[in-house]
């Protein structure tokens, strides 16, 4: 049972994630979009969307640090565990509050602005349920985690998945809240490619360096369309 949940499920989710993204990128480029709803409503979006996005991007950075960088490394560069925790709690908490506030505004907007609601797809509903649960759980354990050192339980397990030797025992020692957060997050990752969240992989950084005016020949665009 333990093995199924912590040792097998993650791989199923990852498979869904990778295959889904590849499939969608190959066969559904026309559907790969953030599907802006700003045309329908702009005031709430102007408030909620930046708050949510800056929050979630900060959170993503925090996760990368917390989960991927072993505690030994941060200690080695002279960052004490106490200081690490203060920073993680401060920045993580702030990012969490931003994210949740932004998310609340966005969800409120989806539910109350009729045009936005009617422009929603089933995948939006699934996405918001999974995303909302993950984020709320995450904020809850950050604020009430009582100093549980997830870098000794969740993080080693998370890293172990990627070297194909899942250390099921590590995660089994984490409090229930952490486990639930991780579990819902895997569900979110599994669903990711089939929702509008694919847009998160399209951050157009190339824009900073490309020439302003883009020329393309008829033949080149034809070849692309046939691709």
């Amino acid at each position: 049972m333990r093995l199924a949940v912590w040792g097998v499920l993650p791989y199923l989710a990852l498979a869904s994630f990778v295959i889904g993204l590849a499939w969608r990128y190959r066969y559904d480029k026309a559907g790969w979009t953030a599907r802006s709803s700003q045309l329908h409503e702009r005031r709430l979006l102007a408030l909620g969307s930046p708050l949510f996005h800056y929050g979630i991007l900060l959170t993503a950075g925090g996760h990368a640090m917390g989960l991927l960088i072993p505690a030994g490394w941060t200690r080695a560069v002279g960052l004490s565990d106490g200081l690490y925790r203060v920073v993680a709690f401060g920045v993580g908490g702030m990012a969490g509050v931003m994210t949740v506030t932004g998310l609340a505004i966005l969800v409120y907007r989806r539910l109350t602005v009729r045009a936005v609601g009617r422009a929603s797809l089933a995948s939006d509903l699934v996405m918001y349920v999974l995303l909302g649960t993950t984020i709320l759980m995450g904020l809850a354990i950050t604020l009430t985690g009582n100093g549980h050192d997830y870098r000794a339980t969740v993080a080693p397990w998370f890293r172990s998945i990627f070297v194909l030797q899942p250390s099921v025992d590590a995660i089994a020692q984490a409090p229930f809240g952490f486990q639930l957060h991780a579990l819902v997050a895997w569900a979110l990752i599994a669903a990711w490619p089939y929702t509008r969240l694919v847009h998160a992989f399209s951050l157009p950084l190339g824009y900073l360096t490309r020439p302003y005016i883009v020329y393309r020949s008829r033949e080149a665009s034809r070849a692309r369309a046939m691709d």
Binding site: S36, S37, Y207
Partner: protein, 486 residues
């Protein structure tokens, strides 16, 4: 010198009767789908009026197009690249749907299902009708609506829009297929591109990610977001027709037969310089200098070296667009001060002037009367100048004087009198040139209005051996922007 070809259009505004046939046929061809109900790739707006979307010309508010920064460098009016990336999450300059209008339909079912009664059943609208793409058509709504026209507001003179003295004309608009398109520059994904072969500006919907920066970037507001697919859509200059040598749908169906289509040659390396000219009144001349003379042997040589075919060069020499801009000097660009170097040009209308002369009881065909009116009617001229010359009345006056001279000159000929060569001479033309101009404007035969060379195509065997255009994946494999109803 690099040489590229540009498909361009001229519209002769004197002939537009505001019938909206172009808009309707365009909609039937391109936007009668879910998600773009509100979009009119071609619209016809009454001037003075608010336009579509409402007050789109107010760039203080909508921040479309380009502007010079303090150091005199060309910048998108909405800010630099980093700023745009940082505002991806919510675009501060995007119009709302209600700035265009909220489309509606009617409950036709009621006509059939209403219970029998004394009154005829009606088809009620499904949503409140408060505005449309044409709400102020033909000055409907009167001065209360027209006073919000951003072009009127820029004019120094306080224009009183009393109905007795109102002037009015129609302005049909499509995408300008600009030489310096700010929609392209504003797209973070690089999904909008200008075709090297014919300059048509298209959206690649495979790489559009719904960042919706092009919508606000275009000062003419001619890019639309499909609110179902989330992808940008725009006027395609009907490229599938153009490639076969056929005119666009709007041009072909125009009741007034007022649209001209042809190619012009340009040097892409001169675009930035022309768009950066400091003095706004010099922008038209700068824009014209980007265009090349297809009869100049050095241009021909460079064009051939750049891969432009003899057939296209011949089309460039016969181009009615080139003639109207250069040989006759009649066509002016719409809002050159947006610095996008627009490629749909306009012949400003003389009719407001003629009407004014007639209304005061004078002969509206007489050259002297018309010249005097062109010089003294400050309001219509000022208004036209705000549209076509960044506010400089001189080029507008020149065009209107030519049109007035043509009226007077041709009246003598039509009435069998001796043509008066002094009339064309007074606007710097010969009688022969003026007669040619008359033929192009008034007779306007289809073969003179449209000089559209065929696109280069592969040998036919190859083109037809692609097999069925709908392949196994079920996707349509035409080289068109893909649209998807979700």
């Amino acid at each position: 010198m690099r040489v590229l070809a540009q498909m361009a259009m001229v519209m002769n505004l004197d002939k537009c009767i505001g019938c909206h046939t172009c808009s309707v046929t365009c909609k039937q061809a391109w936007t009668n789908r879910g998600g773009v109900e509100y979009a009119w790739f071609n619209n016809v707006e009454t001037r003075p009026g608010q336009g579509y979307p409402r007050t789109y010309q107010d760039q203080q508010r909508w921040r479309g197009g380009w502007a010079l920064n303090r150091r005199g460098r060309l910048k998108l009016r909405s800010g630099g690249r980093l700023r745009r990336l940082l505002s991806l999450f919510s675009n501060p300059h995007l119009p709302k749907l209600s700035d265009y209008y909220e489309p509606w339909t009617y409950d036709y079912q009621n006509l059939i299902t209403a219970p029998a009664g004394d009154d005829l059943p009606t088809a009620k609208p499904t949503a409140p009708i408060v505005w449309s793409a044409n709400w102020d058509d033909s000055l409907g709504g009167g001065p209360e609506l027209a006073q919000h026209d951003p072009v009127l507001k820029t004019m120094s003179e306080r224009v009183r829009l009393e109905f007795e003295q109102a002037f009015m004309f129609y302005l049909p608009r499509i995408c300008e297929h600009c030489l310096n398109p700010s929609c392209v520059a504003a797209c973070p994904s690089g999904a909008i591109y200008k075709r090297t072969e014919d300059g048509i500006v298209l959206v690649d919907s495979d790489t559009c990610r719904s960042w919706r920066m092009c919508v606000s970037g275009c000062p003419y507001k001619k890019i639309f977001l499909n609110h179902q697919t989330g992808k940008a859509e725009k006027c395609t200059f009907c490229f599938p027709r153009i490639e076969l040598g056929m005119p666009t749908v709007c041009a072909q169906t125009c009741v007034g037969r007022l649209r001209y289509i042809g190619i012009v040659l340009y040097d892409p390396d001169r675009v930035l310089e022309a768009a950066s000219v400091r003095d706004e009144h010099s922008l038209i001349e700068a824009q014209k200098r980007v265009l090349l003379d297809p009869r100049d042997p050095s241009v021909v040589e460079a064009a051939l070296a750049s891969g432009i075919s003899e057939e296209w060069l011949e089309a460039a020499r016969r181009s009615p667009v080139y003639s109207l801009i250069f040989d006759y000097g009649l066509a002016l660009p719409l809002h050159p001060e947006y610095r996008t170097l627009p490629m749909v040009w306009y012949i400003p209308p003389l009719s407001p002037v003629v009407d004014a002369v007639r209304d005061t009881g004078f002969d509206g065909e007489d050259a002297e009367n018309l010249f005097a009116a062109v010089d003294s009617l400050r309001i219509p001229i000022g208004y036209l100048a705000s549209l076509f010359t960044a506010g400089d009345p001189a080029p507008v006056r020149d065009v209107l004087r030519k049109l007035a001279a043509m009226r007077a000159f041709m009246r003598d000929i039509t009435l069998g009198r001796e043509p008066d060569e002094s009339i064309p001479a007074s606007v710097g033309m010969t009688g022969e040139l003026m007669y040619d101009m008359y033929r192009l404007l008034a007779i306007a035969k289809a073969e003179d209005r449209y000089v559209i060379p065929h696109a280069h195509r592969e040998p036919t065997t190859e083109a037809f051996n692609d097999g069925c255009s709908v392949q196994d994946s079920g996707r349509v494999m035409l080289p068109m922007p893909k649209v998807r109803a979700s």
